[in-house]
Amino acid sequence: MTRGPSALHRLPAGAKLAALAAGSLGLILVDSLPGVLAALGLVAAGYAAARISPRLAWEQVRPVALLVAILFGAQIWMIGLEPAAVVALRVVVLVALAGLVTLTTRAGDLLATIERAAHPLRGVGVDPARMALVLSLAIRGIPVLADVSRRVQDAQRARGRRDVRAYAVPVVVGALRRADAVSEALAARGRAD
């Protein structure tokens, strides 16, 4: 239904999330080096099919690169070279696969999928409509609170203070004030009551 640069982009978000979940569970069962390398090749083929540049692909795994290196180094001594490589590569494959889903799916589609997935939770008191409201309030709150945070930091810097408490208290009070203001605005428009 949505246009995208590749077949992977056009797949429904729900299908991709399900595939990611299945893939991450299935990967636990793969414990040989050829198996993990095959999985890595499969994910790399996915990146190629989605026409993602190697640089952008690297950006996906870069946050765990250092960690994987440390893990690999430490595990060589404990479990041997090949098992250590399997464990380390498994983390790389998982993170790369998740990155592939993130890169080929729009945030709005994922949010809609989460909301749809929450429908069966109605029985335990989860209201999907209210969940959507909370998510959009959170997204809209970030720039507002980032602005409050910046102003408090500037004021601190002007006074030469670098104290976590002196930063956090005014920012949290700012957040509470905003929550009250938003709540009144919602009530005035008859939303969510």
Binding site: Q60, V95, T102, I114, G141, I142, L176
Partner: protein
């Protein structure tokens, strides 16, 4: 920052704390607050597996100031934003990868941590709405460290193939930082309650 009350609604002076709109506003705003704290206070320590951030401080604050259910809901909301790829986690991280990386347990642990902190702070908030430093500190230590590690360590072990003892040992490097954050969280909670007393009456289960 003081809002001028111009609303014509009868309850315009103070929104009732249990109204769904008030709850949605609190939960959404605190999810945003946790995101902002992650950007404001990243302290990268070379060689550590997870960056030391103020984000866990904000998680403890969510539980302490909003209560167990709303605090945990604020964390879940933040995680949903991270899952759809928004860079709301410290260091601008986001995307589904964070949920399959070795530090995924800390993210899930936050939900439990906020809930436990909120539950324990609930017991120390009197009907008069007073809050003392020490009970909040205990709540932050038990919830923000005890409950967090109880979730994070087994998942770290599972993802990396380490045994539980090794994972617990790898985790010890965070203990000083987390203990400091618990002290800060308690101090900030008491400071916020003093500066904005309505937070205690607006607090919900």
């Amino acid at each position: 920052m003081t809002e001028s009350v111009t609303s014509t609604a009868p309850a315009s002076t103070a929104p009732a704390p249990t109204r769904p709109a008030a709850v949605a506003a609190q939960v959404g705003t605190f999810a945003a607050l946790i995101a902002v704290f992650g950007v404001a206070g990243t302290i990268p320590v070379p060689g550590l597996l997870v960056p030391v951030t103020l984000q866990t401080l904000a998680v403890m604050l969510a539980g302490a100031l909003l209560g167990p259910r709303r605090g945990a809901a604020a964390v879940l909301t933040l995680l949903a934003l991270a899952a759809v790829g928004l860079p709301v986690l410290s260091g601008g991280r986001g995307g589904l990868g964070v949920f399959v990386s070795p530090s995924a347990g800390y993210l899930l642990g936050w939900v439990v941590a906020a809930f436990v902190v909120g539950l324990l702070v609930d017991r120390s908030v009197g009907r008069r709405g007073r809050l003392a430093f020490w009970p909040v500190l205990v709540a932050c230590l038990v919830g923000g460290i005890g409950a967090l590690y109880a979730v994070a360590i087994p998942i770290l072990a599972l993802v990396t193939g380490m045994d539980l003892a090794a994972a617990a040992l790898a985790n010890i490097v965070y203990l000083p930082g987390d203990a400091l954050k618990a002290v800060l969280a308690a101090s900030v909670t008491v400071g916020v309650a003093r500066a904005y007393p309505a937070v205690l009456t607006h607090r919900g289960f």
